[in-house]
Symmetry: C2
Subunit: 211 residues, 2 copies
DNA sequence: TTGCCATGTGGCAGAGACTGCCATAAGTTA
DNA sequence: TAACTTATGGCAGTCTCTGCCACATGGCAA
């Protein structure tokens, strides 16, 4: 793998400048009240260029949410295929939580800002779900493949993924304190996951048994 | 209660005309490809009037989804307050499913069309979630009140509501056949609910016990 | 019936998100 | 340096959605 050229580094800088400018403005004056023109001006690019980096305003706001979801999907692929679905998902989610903890201070700040933004703008949480559901489907496909069932005939892979995913969403929403570090955020997610696990009958996710 | 006047009946007719025109066009040429102007023209009102009935294009498309959710919330309020949360919710959801079955043929058609639309336009399912989450919060408030816990301190009411709500969403999405009557739609929802219930430890939703 | 008030409707101008198109600028490679 | 590829900016245009005002219609009381 070769070192990214000047062009690539420049693009990365522009992308981060846009994200930082966007989150800053969203938190300062509200998501709706912030226009693309303002973000572009703050990041020192033309409005037209904004759309070369992010298809929509939402995409900028939710960038770190989507990045995290892609990480979960990638982690899922590394799990042994004889593992039970729930365990695989749990490990994949935990790995992504660990990535949040291990991020650079700048990235941690961006994530915490994203969380504050979602807190202040509940409608954004819903809008994120469009993509989240698509990601859930891909995870369910992976689960179905491993367990040797057909996703179109069996509702259970989708159910397993959706239940865990929903748990994390609820945990994410229910952070009532002003978080200043990533550890607290992770802690609530962990406790929600524990509640879910304790509520479930052992072996509920074993799809090789008859339903 | 007095008979609604001419004015009210006229409004109701216009609302239904807009919904019918909208669903028709969405299914025929796609959700994105359909403009407000087209819908307004088909319903024989001005584009400006469209927005007096629906705040957004989504609101028209998802009208029946929201109506159903409001019904669930209303049903929840009628349940005895000493009932366990999950049982209350289950009954409320069942009652709303029954309302779907008992609807007039016209309304049943509109619901089935809405479902086909959501099938063809997955992004709409996500967009509906903004509102659904708000409704979930209200249900969780009701549950928390009955169980005597604080919603801001205890994640469990939200979890209980979210798990059941997610189950129904998944069931709704996983209707792979072209449905022609409401009964089939209800049947899949029922089976998903059964899967959820079998997966859960009895008493998991009893919040009076210590967590 | 007449007149008044409340309310629904249409038209218009405008902001803001987003796209297609084309010219220009910058980076990459030979 | 020249040729190629890719990023950027500007512009015109579409579509969603809003505020404002004039007008029409339904409801109601004298």
């Amino acid at each position: 793998m070769h070192q990214p050229g000047l062009r690539e580094r420049k693009k990365q800088r522009t992308r981060l400048a846009l994200i930082d400018a966007g989150l800053e403005l969203f938190l300062a004056q509200g998501y709706e009240a912030t226009t693309i023109d303002q973000i572009a001006a703050a990041a020192d690019v033309s409005p037209r260029t904004f759309f070369r980096y992010f298809a929509t305003k939402e995409d900028l706001a939710l960038h770190y949410v989507f990045e995290n979801e892609m990480r979960i999907l990638a982690e899922l692929a590394t799990r042994p295929s004889d593992e039970l679905p729930f365990a695989s998902l749990k490990h994949a989610f935990r790995k992504s939580l660990k990535a949040v903890e291990d991020a650079t201070p700048e990235d941690t700040q961006r994530m915490l800002r994203t969380r504050r933004l979602l807190d202040a703008t509940p409608s954004l949480v819903g809008r994120a779900s469009s993509r989240t559901y698509a990601m859930e489907r891909r995870m369910a496909e992976e689960i179905a493949r491993r367990q040797g069932v057909e996703l179109t005939c069996d509702i259970r892979p989708m159910m397993i993924v959706a239940l865990l995913s929903t748990t994390l969403r609820v945990a994410f929403e229910c952070q009532h304190r002003e978080l200043t570090n990533a550890k607290d955020l992770v802690a609530v997610s962990e406790s929600a996951m524990v509640f879910l696990e304790r509520s479930l009958v052992p072996g509920w996710d074993d799809l090789t048994r008859p339903s």
